[in-house]
Subunit: 160 residues, 2 copies
Amino acid sequence: MQTVGFENHDHTVCVGVGMKAAEDVCAAQGLRLTKGRRRVLEILLQEHRAMGAYDILGMLSDEGFASQPPVVYRALDFLVANGFAHKIQKLNAYIACAHPGDSHTPVFLICRACETVAETAAPLQSTLGEAAEKIGFKIETTIVEAEGMCPRCRETETAV
Amino acid sequence: MQTVGFENHDHTVCVGVGMKAAEDVCAAQGLRLTKGRRRVLEILLQEHRAMGAYDILGMLSDEGFASQPPVVYRALDFLVANGFAHKIQKLNAYIACAHPGDSHTPVFLICRACETVAETAAPLQSTLGEAAEKIGFKIETTIVEAEGMCPRCRETETAV
DNA sequence: ATCGAAGCGTTATATTATATCAAGTCATCC
DNA sequence: GGATGACTTGATATAATATAACGCTTCGAT
């Protein structure tokens, strides 16, 4: 399982890799990574956490972008539709994709204490897809979000 | 896989079984299935679909219950906390539990055409839990929601 | 009967997200 | 190089979902 989220790491690399991957995909597919879309992705990569749409909007408007909700929702729609970001349903929040470029069904591990979110790959989907197919249901996308305690918060909790 | 949602069935049985299960669990655990909570569960069982909180609230207020949001959210919180109903994150909607009494990690199959929701059992969780544990993450609850096309809508689609 | 916890009524507000329409931008075709 | 059409953005308004807070009531235990 490749997992991103709880290890220490050189974060500037994440941002660079993420932006590069998005640029490449957009170039290859004729998608327009416009100023606002690019900036939202940068913010998500830099912050490296699940962010509410209005958190992002606040940052954008501080930087001179328009301050209406559609500004950020449009950018997020684009990023999510093209796999550069994901929505965390449980938190109504958005996070940069940790495996950009790969086609994948992500699994999110969400810490209920600190709300840190890690993205991992699913060890399971084909089984579920086959089981669903048996009753005639055709799965197109799957959301998997596991809530619990991250390593860091488990330590803190037991220490208290 | 036991699946509930796409088959034809005698629906009054569902309601009776669901209410009975909730009553039994409440009696066993000292929980109070008050008038409002009971009525919300009945509504969810009768409608047999994912309903928005405000849809339910509308029905309640038509019946003489108070018409403020907390009325329904409190009842839903109780029902969800005790396993009598589930929240469908993808739809911001609530649905009666199809396997009342069993402890289970549900998997929902959501039709993107008609929004019908079926609840099935997960063929997978232990694998995910073990994988998460290897990186120190302790999973407590898991949300699995698969979106796609139900048998009925697939037929209609190909017919068109 | 009284006490404390749980539940409910009510007002107000917070949070998240979308509809709509006009104006701007960009690539392409002629 | 101007017309065209698809896509993108600006801006206003509103919809949809959910919670905070406070006081009163109800219930069950002592």
